[in-house]
Amino acid sequence: MKICVLVKEVPDAAVEKRMDPGSKRLDRSGEKNLNPFDTHAIEAAMQIKEGGKVDVSEIVAVTMGPDSAERALHKAVSLGADRSVHLTDDSLAGSDVCATGYALAKVLESESPDLVLLGQQSDDGECYTIGAVVADHLKMPSLTQVIEMDTQEGKLTCRRQAEYGYDTVEVDLPAVISVGDAINEPRYPSLKAIMGAKKKQLDKRSAGDVGIEDGKVGEQGSRTAVLAINPPPEKQAGEIIEDEDTNETVEKIVAWLDERKLLA
């Protein structure tokens, strides 16, 4: 079985995020990191490989993004991927969900995986959607927000959270599965793995290499347009207490609750 894991470089959680008013895109100039949800997808792939129920021939980390995204791939490899693929091309800049999903599907097509794994959401876009977009292009079954996965030859049994509780769903392979962060605890990379990551094979591919059609990606291929970016409605900030003396803090909380008649 060949597993491809989709990963994404996102702004570090500690960096304040802002929009570039000119391009109306996210300002990505600050510190960046591998999307935390994707580390769970890599770990899920590693657990299938190490679980011994099915034979995993290789785990390939795949990303789309500018040159800097290479670092996310190095991290993915240090966490266990055998090699990585980087789709990078100026024509991809400004792609929306529709265009990004199409482009990623074209790279995956060139890899012919038996299973595609990804984190259910990215820290920056919070879209929850890429897995399902990619799956429809690849004509593969797909399931999102999966928190347990049992892999057998040719099929998966997944448990996921849905509107009315947990659903258990059987999925035939090949398939695209988005995982939640409760699925596992990602391992820490060893020093040896971090050092060795840059030596593992990293294939750079352009839009033309994977057969992406002109006009279907980037701003030209996007089907949404941002008309305006506005500030949110003003909300009065609440009171903040720094807990230095807990007895005093608790007294203040009780007084606050009492004032609002919440201790009746």
Partner: protein, 324 residues
């Protein structure tokens, strides 16, 4: 026809967020000069009467498809056919998991624009413009659609349910040829709840715990405080998924929506998926040791400190106060 919504149902009832979407579509369709319709998928439990009832929320027509409910891809097949056959300009979904999955699949299938987490939709010059908060709600973008259809996926509770429309909807049965890959997912069990039933929706006071509790046993602190306050315990998705607390107590995007008089959040960072389930609470108190936790941006009283120290003392103080 102009706006098609998907209405999810379970055990003979439509999902609240779906009814919100149907209501919103009814309102918007009249503003842009068109009609609103809904599509439903399922088995024999989708009776004529149940389908017709969507008329009172604003759907003039209901397309009924026989197929498996609870999966996204069969709905994508069905919606793509109904949209193509009838020329809908927009597809609108209420908040929740299936809206995201179906909307995304439809985007790929129809090469259409999609916007998710939409909090409001405006009618402008016969078109719809979606408002989407981004970057932890620090800005709101207005999104326009290029080509048709435009796909709008609401945030949980974004659209109000409005009953009292024009009566029964017309029910139209549609035959759909499902894609090969749609048939490669099978629901084995649907809607398992976990081990206990807790009615958090009726509680006036909720003490909610998140990852900051450190471990499942940390919920003992929340339970004691909830008991002293006369309330119930709720939980975030992360801790429910991690098996620390039952699903029935979960707040947020895939859990329950609550609006108690007091919502006390312990060790909860305040991710958007949680916020949507509790932001209507009358009084929000948050305890978190991270001063930068987003929850402090929308709480009425924020305590920056260690909940392991604060909660036991607060429980004692509440007991003392109430006993007085």
């Amino acid at each position: 026809m102009s706006i098609l919504t998907y209405a999810l149902h379970f055990e003979g009832e439509f999902n609240k967020n779906s009814l919100g979407a149907v209501s919103e579509a009814g309102k918007l369709a009249s503003e842009i000069g068109g009609e609103a319709a809904a599509i439903v998928i399922g088995g024999d439990d989708l009776t004529d009467d149940l389908c017709k009832s969507l008329g009172s929320y604003g759907a003039s027509k209901v397309y009924r498809v026989r197929g498996e409910e609870g999966l996204a891809q069969p709905v994508v097949d069905a919606m793509a056919k109904v949209i193509s056959d009838n020329g809908f300009k927009y597809a609108l979904f209420g908040g929740g998991l299936l809206g995201f999955e179906i909307g995304a699949g439809l985007t790929a299938r129809l090469n259409a624009g999609v916007t998710m987490e939409v909090t409001a939709v405006k009618a402008q010059d016969g078109k719809l413009v979606a408002e989407r908060p981004i970057l932890q709600d620090s800005a709101i973008v207005d999104v326009d659609y290029v080509g048709e259809p435009g796909i709008i996926i609401g945030r949980l509770n974004a659209f109000e349910i409005a009953e009292g429309g024009s009566g029964d909807a017309e029910v139209v049965d549609v035959e759909v040829e499902f894609s090969d890959f749609s048939n490669k997912c099978r629901v084995v069990k649907r809607g398992e709840q976990g081990e206990s039933e807790i009615n958090i929706e009726d509680a006036e006071i909720l003490v909610a715990g998140g990852r900051g509790l450190g471990k499942a046993e940390g919920f003992g602190l929340c339970e004691e405080l909830a008991q002293s306050l006369g309330g119930a315990v709720a939980a975030t998705r992360a801790v429910v998924d991690a098996g620390w607390y039952p699903y029935a107590a979960q707040i947020g995007q895939t859990g329950k929506t609550v609006a108690p008089k007091l919502y006390l959040a312990a060790g909860i960072s305040g991710a958007i998926q949680h916020k949507v389930g509790m932001q209507s609470s009358e009084n929000i108190v948050a305890i978190n040791k991270d001063p930068n936790a987003p929850i402090f941006e929308f709480s009425d009283l924020g305590i920056v400190g260690d909940l392991n120290k604060i909660l036991p003392k607060l429980t004692e103080a509440v007991k003392a106060k109430k006993g007085a």
